[in-house]
């Protein structure tokens, strides 16, 4: 026997009332003031046996009435197995979505999510069909609907739980919108088979603010699919995270070789004091840590000095935050890149009128890029980033030039005299460039520039696009009629080509009609000269490695600059399992964990850092009405699983009780006893009136 409203049983305590009244009547008698007690002795009164029996019978009846009333109000019922609440015609089609994103790694979240999943699965009836998915960036099927249906009813829960217990949350971002839309589509497809089934998506997630929800807005939600939301919370609220800011090349941070770090604190956080500093691969700190004060809901940007020289630091650690999953930011301290420019010409550096003098001064060392200008015989490698040819050279230079072009480098051909075109003719097979010296009456100016070409792209802004101040005293007319692939990038005002580009294999050949030395033009003295040379260097792959932020779950641009082209690449993630990539691959989107990745091409190696998606660190919960705003049907705030189970049990109990209606019998019995008691009391009173002596 169980009770639906057991608190009413407290009413049975009212049974004590008649008993207490009875006892009170016995103990507290009337007081009689008497002149003197000197002749009296204490003598407790005695009751006759007959009196007691009569009273006890009435008392028992009255107590029984009260007890029955209390039991009736408590609404008793007999526990028995209720047939399934859902009728077969109302079988459910359910898709369970379990969040495995990185934010689920917080304390206590995953265990609670598993408990919720178990509670949800336990509620399923035999006729219900379920599919279990995990989602982060992608939707992963754990148990398909077909597998669920094929599994015997008794084994379904065990199977699902066993599968779910094998899963651990990963490092991927939360693409909640994709998961929901895919699940809705899935339900919509299966709905064709059984149209009358109730379709439901149960989402178990922490519903963090960093979840992606964008595509839900455009999604046309299928009719009849309902979303039930099971929200899990971390045992401790709040989270702080650090994020490296990408530097603009040439900015002050670049020059000072410091990294800027943004430290953000979530609005529901309880802490505001943090330390940030470099750490080595072992996690031990390198150098001093910076104290950062970040109030909840705000963020601060701090400039973190480079680790001390000689220390191997590869990550930035945030300390003072309780949620540890996102407190490590992998970052490689900036390293200067060495680039090589090979100069092939007849002049020497000391010649202030020669091109080399200006070329060497155009390339200045920066902390990130170190450019070395060397002569042909001092070239260190087979493929310099840029080869500048100014004078007529013998054939020994040709292999170097060809090799550079084959490696995708740039050969800049800026002849100081028409005789130098012989070398160009040897380089470009079959191309007989009839170069003619031109000496305009006054001077020539650049009239037409192709700002869409990477060479002139830095000048595309109208502020920098004025080339009209550069005077050209003389130039060589380029005859490009034989070179069909050649593309003119700049023309003089006379219409003659000033700069032309000729692709040769993967490399490019840039042809300048005039040199930059003062004898030919004012180009070396203009402000356009240095950017132009750097643009030419970058065309050949001589780009300083800007490290765009690489995030887990996003497409990562591989640092292939400077690696030999055409070589298969090998990527080594932090877990050590090598991944082979075909030659020419420039991006990778399979990063599954944050850490330092190593890209190898032959003997060349590049390391790069992959970090957690910062959106994943925004752990404060979504607004309660977010789903409603996005038009997701039935996205109600969830209730606690224990409470939900209790609610279910209450519903079941209420159903049992309403079927059995035992309270009616109890009340009927109470009424019967009440009648009996009335009759008995009346009979006793009558008898006492008739026989007063017996009553005393």
């Amino acid at each position: 026997m169980s009770f639906l409203a057991p608190l009413f049983l407290l009413g049975a305590l009212a049974v004590a009332a008649p008993i207490v009244f009875h006892l009170v009547r016995r103990t507290t008698r009337e007081r009689v003031r008497f002149s003197s007690l000197m002749f009296l002795r204490p003598e407790p009164p005695r009751l006759t046996q007959r009196n007691r029996i009569e009273h006890w019978l009435l008392l028992a009846l009255r107590c029984a009435v009260l007890g029955l009333l209390a039991a009736g109000f408590a609404r008793p019922f007999l526990r028995q197995d209720l047939p399934a609440i859902t009728a077969p015609g109302q079988a459910r089609q359910m898709v369970l979505l379990l969040d495995t994103s990185a934010s689920m790694r917080r304390d206590g979240v995953w265990n609670e999510a598993l408990a919720r999943a178990e509670a949800v699965l336990r509620r399923l009836g035999p006729a219900d069909a379920a599919a279990v998915f995990t989602f982060d960036r992608t939707l992963t099927s754990q148990i398909s609907r077909e597998e669920w249906v094929a599994t015997p009813v008794g084994d379904r829960l065990g199977l699902a739980l066993a599968r779910l217990r094998e899963i651990q949350p990963g490092w991927q971002p939360t693409h909640l919108d994709q998961a929901l839309t895919q699940a809705a589509d899935l339900l919509n497809e299966t709905a064709a088979a059984s149209t009358d089934a109730k379709r439901q998506i149960v989402v178990i997630s922490d519903f963090q603010a960093g979840s992606q929800l964008g595509s839900l807005q455009q999604f046309d939600w299928p009719k009849g699919v309902e979303v039930s939301v099971e929200s899990v919370r971390a045992s401790t609220a709040g989270n702080a995270f650090a994020q490296l800011l990408a530097d603009v090349p040439g900015s002050s941070a670049t020059r000072e070789s410091a990294v800027r770090v943004r430290v953000s604190n979530e609005p529901d956080s309880t802490r505001d004091q943090f330390q940030i500093g470099w750490a080595g691969p072992d996690g031990a700190p390198r150098g001093a840590a910076l104290d950062v004060y970040v109030p909840p809901g705000q963020s601060r940007v701090v400039s973190l000095p480079a680790p001390p020289p000689g220390a191997t630091a590869d990550r930035v650690l945030l300390r003072g935050d309780e949620q540890a999953f996102d407190n490590t930011v992998f970052a490689l301290p900036p390293e200067p890149v060495r680039l090589e420019v090979v100069y092939a010409g007849s002049d020497v550096e000391s010649d202030r009128r020669g091109p080399l003098f200006f070329l060497r001064r155009a390339f200045q060392d920066t902390p990130l890029v170190s450019v070395r200008v060397v002569s042909v015989d001092r070239a260190s490698g087979p493929a310099p980033h840029l080869v500048v040819v100014t004078g007529p050279m013998d054939d020994s230079v040709l292999p170097l030039l060809r090799n550079a072009l084959a490696q995708g480098r740039v050969v800049l051909f800026a002849p100081v005299s028409a005789s130098a075109f012989a070398t160009l003719g040897k380089l470009v097979a079959g191309a007989a460039l009839g170069a003619v010296e031109e000496r305009p009456a006054h001077y020539a100016l650049l009239g037409e520039l192709d700002f869409r070409h990477p060479l002139f792209a830095p000048f595309a802004d109208p502020r920098f696009s004025d080339f009209t101040k550069i005077h050209f005293w003389q130039y060589r007319r380029l005859d490009l009629t034989a070179l069909a692939e050649a593309r003119v990038l700049a023309r003089f005002d006379s219409g003659d080509p000033a700069i032309a580009e000729l692709p040769v294999g993967p490399g490019r050949l840039l042809m300048f009609a005039a040199g930059w030395h003062p004898e030919d033009s004012q180009l070396a003295l203009s402000s356009k000269f240095v950017p132009l040379l750097y643009a030419a260097l970058e065309l050949g792959g001589g780009r300083p490695p800007d490290s765009p932020p690489a995030w887990v779950g996003a497409s990562i641009r591989l640092p292939v600059e400077g690696l030999p082209a055409g070589t298969p690449l090998t990527l080594q993630p932090p877990n050590g399992v090598r991944i082979s990539l075909p030659a020419g691959t420039v991006s990778f989107d399979g990063a599954s964990a944050p850490g330092l990745y190593e890209l190898a091409a032959g003997a060349e190696r590049r390391r790069f850092a992959v970090n957690l998606d910062p959106a994943e660190s925004r752990t404060s919960p979504l607004p309660a009405d977010e789903f409603e705003r996005l038009g997701v049907p039935g996205g109600q705030p969830s209730v606690e699983p224990v409470r939900e189970a209790q609610r279910q049990a209450r519903l079941q109990n209420a159903e049992l009780e309403s079927r059995q209606k035992l309270w009616r019998w109890l009340l009927a019995a109470a009424v019967g006893i009440l009648l009996l008691e009335t009759w008995l009391a009346g009979w006793t009173a009558r008898r006492q009136t008739l026989n007063p002596e017996a009553a005393t």
């Binding site: 007081r31 009689v32 008497f34 002149s35 002795r41 204490p42 009164p45």
Partner: protein, 317 residues
């Protein structure tokens, strides 16, 4: 005067009716006048404070009472004797302890006792006797010396009307006090319920007897006290001490009456042993009967004393 049974033509006044008279003096008058109307043809025959007789002077007599006129006329020494000298000095000793406030008939024992005392005082006053009053509980409260004046009687009535408040009863101390205060021999009328230990009562009575006082003891009890007339078991509370006791009267009655009778008998035996009168009154008895019993007891005593050859110059009470 010869006491006789009250006239049967006139019914006695029941105490319940009498007690409806609020004024104590009026109550006493009603009793006494009704009483007189039964035993006297003319109760107002007069009495005086005048001369009664001459007596030959003997050396040592008080010269204040020498009749100088007779001496001047006849050159003989005679003393004048006045009625005052022959009068009775009555001392009412009234118990005003809280046990006297019990009453089951609509009035308390104290009210009954006060009416009795007032009746006696008024009666004695009518006879020309001086009446004094001493009230007590555990100690002496009021004392009025014996006088024979109307205003004094009023004061006496007023003192009697005070409510009883004593928390205990000490019978011996007031009697000793009377013995100290009253030098002249007289009549001591003790009115109490005697619901107190009697251990020191005998010594006090003996002292009064030795002083030549005559005593009449009135024991006033409520009928409910005599029979323990209660039906239900109850918590009995002592009026004086406040002590409570759980008592079932049905079972306790026999023992109670036995012990109460023993107390009454002890008081009566004590009085008889010392030659005093003891009268037990219950508050449902008419006061005329009490007065009658009192007078009859006095008569018997007077005869007894005369038989004993005791010189008595008292007026018959």
């Amino acid at each position: 005067m010869t006491p006789a049974a009250p006239a049967t033509s006139r019914p006695l006044i029941a105490p319940q009716a009498l007690m409806r008279i609020r004024h104590l003096e009026l109550r006493a008058r009603v009793v006494v006048e009704g009483f007189w109307s039964g035993i006297h043809r003319s109760p107002y025959h007069g009495f005086s404070v005048e001369f009664t007789e001459y007596r030959q002077y003997t050396p040592g007599d008080d010269l204040r009472y020498l009749d100088w006129r007779v001496l001047a006329r006849s050159d003989r020494f005679f003393l004048k004797r006045f009625e005052d000298e022959t009068n009775l000095r009555g001392h009412l000793v009234a118990d005003q302890s809280r046990s006297m406030t019990f009453g089951s008939l609509g009035f308390t024992k104290a009210e009954y006792a006060a009416t009795l005392a007032a009746t006696l005082a008024y009666f004695l006053h009518l006879q020309g006797d001086a009446v004094g009053l001493l009230t007590f509980d555990d100690q002496v409260r009021d004392y009025l010396p014996a006088r024979h004046r109307v205003s004094h009687l009023r004061r006496l009535m007023h003192a009697l009307e005070r409510s009883a408040a004593g928390t205990s009863t000490d019978l011996a101390a007031p009697l000793q006090r009377v013995a100290e205060l009253v030098r002249k021999r007289g009549l001591v009328l003790l009115i109490s319920d005697f619901l107190a230990p009697l251990d020191r009562l005998e010594a006090a009575l003996l002292q009064l007897s030795a002083s030549g006082h005559e005593m009449v003891v009135f024991q006033v009890l409520d009928p409910a006290e005599v029979t323990l007339d209660f039906r239900n078991a109850a918590l009995f509370e002592d009026m004086e001490s406040g002590r409570t006791l759980l008592v079932d009267p049905v079972t306790a009655r026999a023992e109670y009456t036995r012990r109460l009778e023993a107390q009454t008998r002890a008081v009566r035996d004590l009085c008889q042993r010392l030659g005093h009168t003891c009268l037990r009154l219950t508050t449902d008895q008419p006061l005329e009967l009490a007065l009658f019993d009192f007078l009859r007891a006095r008569m018997q005593r007077g005869r007894r004393v005369n038989r004993a050859g005791h010189h008595a110059t008292r007026s018959p009470a």
